[in-house]
Amino acid sequence: MSTIPRIPAELAAGFTMLTDGGDSPAAKIAIPAELTRLSGIPIAVEGSVTLDPVVHECIRLFNAKYQGCEYCMNARQAVAIQAGLNEDIVSKLTRFETSDLPPQIKAALRITSAVASAPQMVTKDVLDEARRHFSEQEVADIIYLSVLTTASKVAITLGVEPGKSASSRVFYPSDPVYGDSDDLKRALEAYAKKGFNVAGEAMAVPTTLHDAEAYKPAMTLSR
């Protein structure tokens, strides 16, 4: 793992994890912003994966830890926090199998873990266990999300992963990094109607459970 560029500075210049396109080498290898809008934020943009926000964020964060992406590890999605994600859950992701995490999160992470390590381990038994908690579409969505959240391997390998300081905050789905589109706007409106805060002030991610308690009131969900 390295957050020190392993490629010449002039080629790494201007790299961001997401991009809407560009001619520089760094821009060409970034993750397309639309791909992240469709898969990386736990809100139902048209055509995107549709999972419970906590399950979605657990999958994303598990892969962030597995791949060693500090940028990905230190971001939190606001809608997931509002739906119940907390730092206690996050701390148990790596050793989810022996943890007291809910069975539906364990079932999802068994798929994610297999996809990331040895995809042939996505067996019928693993999927059947997931089916006890998720619909067939959701099981497919877990696979898509598990696959697409391995994309950080590029930035990590090239040493251009922006690191912890670039992302240690709560991301709202209206954040500019996700770009702009009509379907995103409709999704934001739908989430707002459910009582989620879809746009908020930049907020640091807590580093301890104590800190997490301190910032919870600002994130109260009034559904």
Partner: protein, 173 residues
């Protein structure tokens, strides 16, 4: 394809596997095709076929990338891939790249500065960037293929630009 029930119709099993999220599929494959087009076709094809063996993607092993053939990649070399470290058919540059692709597929976070430096020197700095990105999209597609149990089919998916089946490639040769 037995892994997921109730998938929509599609021309190939890959189309069916990703068919429940067509917009996601379209955007992902667009990035896949653009990423492969920027890479050295013959080199990325060797790496794709090597990692297909590692990850267990028979679907990928059944496909051939036409631009790689245009760059001179022959079946003889593809068949020699399991012995790429010793076979005289492979150059040092190819051996470095394939070895790097293996690491990328198996445990990318174990790739060290020296691994990167060796391959970067062999490929050139800018080409190395595109090579790594191409490895990533190949890796992602292969993981999805294996997870969904997408099997080899009689035709290449139209979403995979420049790909044909191995049988088609052989008959065209």
């Amino acid at each position: 394809m037995t892994q997921i029930n109730g998938l929509p119709d599609g021309a190939t099993e890959l189309d069916r596997a990703w068919g429940t999220r067509p917009r996601l599929y379209e955007v992902f494959m667009s990035d896949f095709n653009a990423s492969l087009a920027r890479a050295d076709a013959a080199l990325i094809e060797l790496c794709r076929l090597r990692t297909a063996t590692i990850l267990g993607s028979g679907f990928d092993q059944n496909l051939r990338y036409v631009p790689a053939r245009a760059r001179g990649l022959k079946e003889e070399k593809i068949h020699a891939l399991p012995d790429y470290l010793k076979s005289p058919l492979f150059t040092t540059r190819e051996r470095l790249a394939i070895g790097f692709a293996e690491l990328f597929a198996i445990q990318s976070n174990s790739i060290g500065d020296e691994d990167v430096a060796r391959v970067q020197e062999a490929l050139g700095a800018e080409s190395f960037i595109y090579f790594v990105k191409a490895l990533s999209v190949v890796d992602q597609l292969q993981r999805s293929v294996v997870a969904f149990d997408v099997r080899p089919g009689p035709a290449a998916p139209s979403t995979m630009a420049g790909f044909v089946t191995a049988a088609s490639a052989a008959s065209a040769a």
